[in-house]
């Protein structure tokens, strides 16, 4: 399966203000289905996140966490500048594909989200991309 856009993550110091803006100005709605079960492990990432949707694509507004890369030893920190997240149905096949394309990735596994196996990498412009498989 080709990666399909699942969500856009905006990482911010102003979670409440951003959440209000996207609901009140853009008209997005809160969503409680198909959202990540954040482990809230302070050794990994325990920021507050709100989940919004336009009915199809989700918007995650996440507490910016500059230290998450150092804390976890991961080279890509997805909650520094935010990221664009795609879903696949076979993350192992996608990792093999990335290796074949010589695209290095940061393998977060399911350390941040129970039941989601996540990898993060950079596009040529340095934008952070997530690809995940939901296993629950």
């Amino acid at each position: 399966m080709k990666p399909k856009l699942h969500h856009i993550n905006l990482s911010t110091d102003k979670v409440e203000e951003m959440d209000a803006f996207y609901r009140e100005v853009l008209g997005l709605e809160r969503c409680d289905e198909d959202i990540p079960a954040l482990r809230m492990d302070e050794e990994v990432y325990a920021g507050d996140v709100t989940f919004l949707t336009d009915g199809d694509i989700h918007l995650h507004i996440a507490r910016k966490d500059v230290e998450a890369g150092f804390r976890t030893g991961q080279l890509v920190n997805p909650v520094l500048e935010g990221h664009v997240a795609y879903r696949v149905d076979d993350i192992e096949a996608f990792k093999t594909h990335l290796e074949a394309e010589a695209a290095p990735f940061s393998n977060w596994g399911d350390s941040a989200v129970a039941g989601w196996h996540q990898v993060y990498f950079y596009d040529p412009e340095g934008n952070v991309i997530e690809v995940h498989e939901r296993r629950t």
Binding site: L5, L10, K14, M18, V25, D54, Y86, E125
Partner: protein, 135 residues
């Protein structure tokens, strides 16, 4: 007036390299349907490549930090890219922004023939586009 995500625009100095990456690594396809017809003589003449995951488009646009200066527009959507939503009633959405006290740059159809576009900032300074396709 309900908004639906239409595309993600990534501004870049290497359109060809980004286009290759999004097709080869991300498996996206060349988008051929429903593309904006770029007006190249009214302030932005950059190259743009269009790809899609089958549902949402990715626009890979030549970065142009001077597009705001060239057009007199405060918000420059091709300096750092943007997130674009489509509405079926832009006039109503502009009235909504006015009521909320959110300022916006009204690009009209000067960048894209047949699309009327506005751009504004979220509280973090991310650039949001809302557009309506003209009948």
């Amino acid at each position: 007036m309900k908004l639906k995500l239409h595309h993600i625009n990534l501004a870049t100095t290497d359109v060809t390299g980004m286009d290759r990456f999004y097709q080869r690594v991300m498996g996206q396809a060349r988008e051929t349907a429903g593309l904006p017809v770029l007006e190249k003589k009214q302030g932005y003449a950059g190259d743009v490549a269009f790809t899609t995951d089958g549902n949402i488009q990715t626009h890979l646009a030549q970065r142009d930090v001077m597009a705001g200066m060239a057009t007199g527009q405060v918000v420059n959507p091709v300096a750092r890219g943007h997130i674009a939503f489509r509405t079926d009633d832009l006039a109503a959405f502009k009235a909504h922004l006015d009521a909320k006290g959110v300022p916006y740059s009204d690009w009209g159809n000067r960048a894209v023939a047949g699309w009327r576009q506005i751009f504004f900032y979220d509280p973090d300074g991310n650039v949001i586009e809302v557009h309506e396709v003209e009948e």
